[in-house]
Amino acid sequence: MTAIYRHRLFWPIVALVTLIVINAVARPQFIKIRVQDGELYGPLISILRDSAPLMLVALGMTIVIATRGIDLSVGAIMAVSGAVALTIIDGAEDPGNVGTVLIACIVAVLVSLVLGAWNGFLVSVVGIQPIIATLVLMLAGRGVALLITGGFITTVNSEPYSFIASGYLFALPFAFLIGVVAIVILSLVERRTALGVLTEAVGINPEASRLAGVRSRSIIWGAYIVSGTLAGVAGLIYASNIKAADANAAGVFIELYAILAVVLGGTSLNGGKFSIAGTVVGVLIIQTLDSTILFLGVSSAQSPVFFAIVVVIVVIVQSARLRDGLAALTARVRSRGAGVQDSDKVEVA
């Protein structure tokens, strides 16, 4: 029992399940899943689909944070990626052509990869602090995206491109499957190869790792490339969802939500040990919370406050120090004799 209780995914999962239960109790249709034309629908399915962009960005962020870094430019990269893809599709003779869309997506992702490589270059080769290095692109990226779209919101009507965000494959939303593929690939690469442990070593003690012969620079550089690339894919999904490249709205604040997801998943911002499964749970918590706000009919003016309150509660519940503190307090109160009635209050811990 203690093993389960102490597992680092215990509290994040408790938070997620609690959110789902609250929703289900408030409105039972929340957990209903309909099958229509062999495709699944329902609030839970929507959460899975809508979580895809954040999922991709948060996965990349996990790797970057594991190296002691941070990537603030992911939202801007999303904007650039969407702008590149839609500009290509818009300029093509046949926007509905699958080949066109495929080329547009590949180019957009490659551009994102280059942007990630730029971040990685600044951090690992030039030695600029990650927060500053990625801030450059965070601020400049949207300008680049606007430049690409010529200052307009490029809209397209392309069947294959819309498929990315709203299509279905194997009865599940295609966007969700993209997220799953990213999770699987990343987990396999990190754990089946030695990349995971080397990344952790670099994140915990960069100098010791370098002296041990680890290619710290390449590992850190690689992390930003992965983050940029995944953000590019996220940008494609976002743009597909609204069928437009909106440089000012794409991925706004997503870097902060991604960091939040990583932290909720139990990965420390100090770098080192990371958990991809934790990040996945963290993303689902955030997305479920987002839906909860809509679902419970919280007015849009109040929703940030509501969101903030829930996040604070989740973070406090997860705080090991707080739990230890309460445990110590309980023990102390107990040792002073069971007669002290106040001990009941502390038991909540």
Binding site: R192, T193, A194, L195, V197, L198, E200, A201, I204, N205, E207, A208, S209, R210, L211, A212, G213, V214, R215, I219, G272, K273, A328
Partner: protein, 511 residues
């Protein structure tokens, strides 16, 4: 100096028991500290010294027993509680803010106030007064980082005095100090003792323990072995009590320096004119198969710098390195590792172990780094390597999944040694491998070095303890003021000759 036994103790610890998951760290230990004495706490790594200190400073809670400070029974749940009770600690790694000034560090939290602000002038004056009372005249407005570790430690002690400490705990304060600095520190300690401060002293240097202590408490495996006035406990008796067996091991290693090395062939590694502006004047160095080359010199003489250049940890701006007669570029540690050169840094915590990884992960790190991330070493092979080295080097606890950060210094050093031996090096560079570790672990490591070099491994061995260098090495390279001043044959060099050489040789010749 003897302490009046009738003086009531300032600290009385009775039957202290502390359990960690799976380990009984302290088992009913008694410890008494009286005002105006210097009391050394002795024991091997893992004996429970640190645990006892942490119980006294409120870092660990105790599971049984009692702590009485100045006649009052105390329960410390935080380090601040202990500090309020007048117990201050100065650690091996100075825990001050190096980016603040000396004065700010001394007075932190006790700044002189004026209205709502701080009267910096008065604060610095007060800091200077405290420093002067320890015989230190420092510019209180200079950055702490600009001073040597020794001065920083004395600043830490001044800070403890600002807190009005009745009990001062000095945990390995001398491990990075040179002889003169140790004298200065001891002067301060004697002064404080005269003022009635009780001093708990922990050091691995027996000479220093005997020089400064009034009384010794010996721990072994978490239990109390005994408390003795210094005069009643000769050195060999102390060592025997600490390790629980006669120390014949070190004597058995002694012959290593007389081994004859065949220096006719090609050296395993040869450096010519290796240097870096402002760091090290160009120096030559060659190491033959199976040879142990000692590097001697004071702290800061350039011995660490020399091997860092050789290893590619720092980039040399002149000179060449040849491995087996072939010129090679060594600009990065991994280049060195590819040529089977390994370096174990003197700075175990910052540059050695990866604290939050397990023993197994730390051991495998070296071979995995060489293989690259694509080719993960199969779990089965990892386990085999880890098991082999944990056994061969006697790493304790022998648990591959323990976090390295939780191991004692000696065991961390063994893990590092395992990491490098697993890469099958041809040249192993050990920079201060025995610093801050206990006698038993020291003997283990020295024995391993002697054994491996007899099998053909070439070793560069750096140590501040010259006996160690002379015992292990066949040849000793001496550095001073960032310059190589010569080489000695260890077989016909004794300690006095070596010390004299370090201090005086080459005087004037370079002028």
């Amino acid at each position: 100096m003897t302490v009046d036994i009738d003086v009531p103790p300032i600290v009385e610890m009775r039957g202290i028991t502390i359990r960690f998951p799976g380990v009984l760290a302290l088992d009913g230990v008694d410890f008494t500290l009286r005002p105006g004495e210097v009391h050394s706490l002795m024991g091997e790594n893992g004996a429970g010294k640190s645990t006892l200190i942490k119980a006294l400073t409120g870092v660990y809670g105790i599971d049984a027993g009692s702590i009485t400070v100045a006649g009052e029974r105390r329960t410390f749940s935080t380090a601040a509680d202990a500090q309020d009770a007048g117990i201050s600690t100065v650690y091996q790694e100075v825990n001050l803010c190096t980016n603040l000034t000396v004065g700010e560090n001394v007075m932190l939290g006790h700044e002189q106030r004026r209205g709502t602000g701080i009267d910096w002038k008065a604060t610095h004056r007060e800091a200077a007064r405290h420093l002067e009372s320890l015989g230190l005249s420092l510019d209180t407005r200079s950055m702490l980082a600009s001073h040597s570790i020794a001065i920083q430690q004395l600043v830490a002690i001044s800070r403890a005095m600002v807190l009005d400490a009745k009990v001062l705990i000095l945990d390995e304060p001398t491990s990075s100090l040179d002889r003169g600095e140790v004298e200065q520190l001891f002067g301060v300690i004697r002064d404080l003792r005269g003022k009635g401060v009780a001093i708990l002293f922990v050091s691995h240097f027996l000479d220093q323990v005997y020089e400064i202590s009034d009384r010794i408490t010996v721990l072994r495996n978490g239990t109390l072995v005994g408390e003795h006035p210094i005069a009643e406990l000769p050195r060999d008796a102390l060592v025997t009590k600490m390790i629980g067996r006669e120390l014949e091991d070190l004597a058995a290693i002694a012959n290593s320096s007389h081994r004859v090395i065949d220096r006719t062939g090609t050296p395993v590694v040869k450096a010519t004119g290796l240097g870096k502006r402002g760091v090290l004047e160009p120096a030559d160095l060659e190491i033959y198969e199976g040879e142990v080359v000692g590097i001697a010199g004071l702290l800061g003489s350039g011995r660490t710098e020399l091997v860092r250049l050789l290893y590619g940890a720092d980039r040399a701006d002149e000179g060449e390195v040849e491995v087996h007669g072939k010129g090679t570029k060594v600009h990065q540690p991994r280049h060195a590792i590819e040529h089977r050169i390994s370096l174990s840094s003197e700075n175990r915590r910052e540059e050695g172990v990866v604290a939050d990884l397990t023993v197994a992960e730390n051991i495998v790190l070296g071979i995995q780094a060489r293989q690259g991330w694509m080719r993960k070493i199969p779990k089965k092979d990892q386990d085999a390597v880890v098991k082999e080295y944990i056994e061969a080097l006697g790493v304790r606890p022998a648990n591959p999944n323990a976090l390295v950060g939780n191991l004692s210094g000696g065991n961390q050093q063994k893990v590092l040694l395992a990491r490098w031996l697993a890469t099958a090096p041809e040249l192993l560079v050990l920079d201060e491998p025995t610093r801050g570790i206990d006698v038993g672990a020291k003997a283990d490591i020295q024995r391993k070095v002697a054994e491996l070099s007899a099998q053909g491994l070439s070793v560069i061995f750096i140590s501040s303890e010259l006996e160690e260098v002379l015992r292990l090495a066949q040849r000793v390279v001496v550095l001073r003021d960032r310059r190589k001043i010569g080489e000695l044959d260890a077989a016909d060099t004794d300690l006095d000759t070596l010390i004299d050489y370090i201090a005086n040789a080459g005087e004037g010749s370079a002028a």
